[in-house]
């Protein structure tokens, strides 16, 4: 099995400093955050430019070129509801270190993001949701089928569709957690890749608790077959847990210094 793929989540308009840097085209804060994430072991970096309705295309191109030219063609996940911006980003994207990821399609209004990914030979995150949250795994797996078929109709390799069960917040939806984990197992049994915004589970918890919950969640999810996650790679406990799980799953060969790699 391949190593778990981490997608660093810290380049997002939800962070005011990043939002400001995107708006002002100020490279320095973006490069600093990218470097911190890559030094901590992130494989992909997510570039969330928000809806970016006005200058999304220009902004996405600028960020893609900025990051790839500074960090040896680092592979990126292009994260926005502006489809044209994703296409623009891909048009300047260098694939030497991995295909771009389109973040994301769902089984309702955003299903066309799969077509976009297919047309551009990209990976696509496929959120197993319809108009609202899937009410149970029957519904979730129906969305999974819909998304899988849509991607394959457009000529995608199934391995390039990364299914997202949608991690849910424990505070409020505690009884749903095992269901999410079971969905991951079902993806895995179908031989599908999977990912998701893992830290949703610990939303609203005290800051010191979140790394503990996220680590427990990633360990359980990796046991179920999760192949990737969108995470904060600067969460040391989480990254150590992922590396340890990679060893236990025989995804990577153990060496005493494995945490330093």
């Amino acid at each position: 099995m391949a190593k778990f793929i981490t997608i660093g989540e810290r380049l997002s308009t939800t962070a005011p400093a990043v939002n400001k840097a995107f708006t002002e085209r100020d490279p320095e804060p973006i490069l600093a955050r990218a470097k911190q994430q890559l030094d901590a072991g992130a494989v992909y970096l997510d570039v969330n430019i928000g809806p970016a309705e006005n200058d999304g295309e220009d902004l996405m191109k600028w960020v893609v070129e900025l990051l790839q030219s500074n960090f040896d063609n680092v592979p990126l996940a292009l994260d926005t509801s502006n489809k044209k911006a994703i296409e623009a980003g891909i048009s300047v994207y260098n694939r030497a270190k991995g295909k771009p990821i389109v973040n994301s399609a769902d089984a309702a209004g955003r299903i066309e993001y799969l077509d976009l990914a297919a047309a551009n030979d990209a990976i696509c995150i496929a959120l197993c949701n319809g108009e609202g949250l899937a009410k149970d795994n029957d519904e979730r797996m129906m969305y999974c089928q819909t998304l899988l078929e849509r991607g394959m109709e457009h000529g995608m390799d199934a391995a390039d569709i990364w299914f997202d069960p949608l991690f849910l917040v424990v505070k409020g939806m505690q009884e749903k957690q095992m269901e999410i984990l079971e969905a991951i197992k079902m993806f895995s049994d179908m031989g599908l890749n999977s990912t998701g915004g893992l830290s949703n589970n610990s939303n609203g918890m005290p800051k010191h608790i979140r790394p503990i919950m996220d680590s427990a969640m990633v360990a359980m999810a990796m046991m179920q077959g999760l192949t990737s996650a969108i995470v904060n790679p600067n969460d040391k406990r989480l990254m150590e847990t992922i590396k340890s799980c990679d060893v236990l799953k025989n995804n990577t060969l153990y060496a005493d210094s494995y945490l330093e790699l």
Binding site: T252, L253, L261
Partner: protein
């Protein structure tokens, strides 16, 4: 249904490490397939064969070896002869006389031997220490120093002395460094990690992951090499993408099948044939398991393995 061949493609390859200088320089590694899987992709570089010579001279009781080196008396003459052996790509000088439990030759004396051999041969040179960790820790940095400009492979840095040996050979004197572990896959990886953390370029490291003669725990050698090549290629583990060199001769000629005299074991047949057989079988097996180079002793073994490699390429 027609047969559709699907090549096993990896997005990873073994590092290419060049040893020696000029026309006779050799390249170890570079492959992106399992050993000799030429139906998946061509092997970048053929596996290489080294001929072992020792500072103790031709101590062999093997007629074929004695005959081959006839007329050579100094270590320089022996090494010169060794590089002419049919199928040989490099010479491996073992400084076994340095062993404190053996002849305990001084470092100065051994360095003279290294110089003499380096002057005598034009092919790439691999130098092995005496296997005593303390002595090698002192000896191998001096070997690296005296061979400056030769682009030699210095064997080996081990867990106990990788800092001294790695720093001298890999950093100070621009040689290639052997990283030795004894059939311990986790240590093999760990050594590469700590050596690169020390600053040695991963592209300058050749692994010696240990060996055993066929029949002497050899299945562990096979599984170690298999797992290393698997991780290097299918998991793209860059801490295991160093080519592998295996010192076959020493193991193969030290087991009872290659040592028991014909008086003691008349039913086993001639001693020389048994030794060659052990050496050839071990070498063939480690090459099939992923070794990128083997070190051998007998001219017939070298010729046989060389032919095998040519035919499998």
């Amino acid at each position: 249904m027609p047969f559709n061949q699907k090549p096993q493609k990896f997005n990873a390859s073994i590092n290419t490490v060049e040893i020696g200088c000029g026309d006779k320089a050799i390249k170890l590694g570079g492959e992106c397939t399992f050993p000799f899987y030429t139906f998946d992709a061509p092997m970048e570089n053929a596996p290489k064969i080294g001929v072992e010579v020792s500072d103790l001279g031709i101590a062999s009781n093997i007629p074929g070896i004695q005959k081959f080196y006839e007329g050579a008396s100094t270590i320089g003459e022996i090494a010169k002869k060794a590089e002419t052996m049919e199928g040989a790509d490099f010479v491996c000088l073992r400084l076994e006389g340095g062993d404190p439990n053996g002849e305990d030759k001084s470092i100065d004396e051994l360095i003279e031997v290294v110089k003499e051999v380096a002057e005598a041969v034009t092919c790439p040179l691999v130098v092995e220490g005496c296997k005593n960790v303390e002595k090698d820790t002192e000896l191998l940095p001096k070997v690296a120093e005296v061979l400056q400009g030769k682009n030699a492979l210095v064997m080996s840095a081990r867990e106990e002395n990788y800092k001294a040996v790695g720093a001298a050979a890999g950093l100070a004197y621009n040689q290639k460094v052997g990283a030795e572990s004894a059939v311990d896959i986790n240590l093999a990886k760990q050594l590469n990690v700590v050596m690169t953390q020390l600053g040695v370029n991963g592209q300058d490291i050749v692994m010696n992951v240990g060996s055993a003669a066929v029949g002497y725990g050899f299945e562990y050698v096979v599984s170690t090499m298999d797992r290393i090549k698997g991780a290097a290629l299918s998991q793209n583990d860059n801490m295991l993408q160093m080519p592998i060199i295996t010192a076959v001769a020493d193991e193969a000629w030290s087991v009872k099948e290659a040592m028991a005299t014909e008086e003691d074991m008349p039913e086993w047949g001639p001693l020389e044939e048994r030794g060659i057989s052990m050496e050839v079988q071990t070498a063939a097996a480690v090459l099939a398991s992923g070794s990128d180079a083997v070190i051998l002793k007998h001219p017939q073994s070298v010729a046989t393995i060389s032919k095998m490699i040519k035919e499998l390429m």
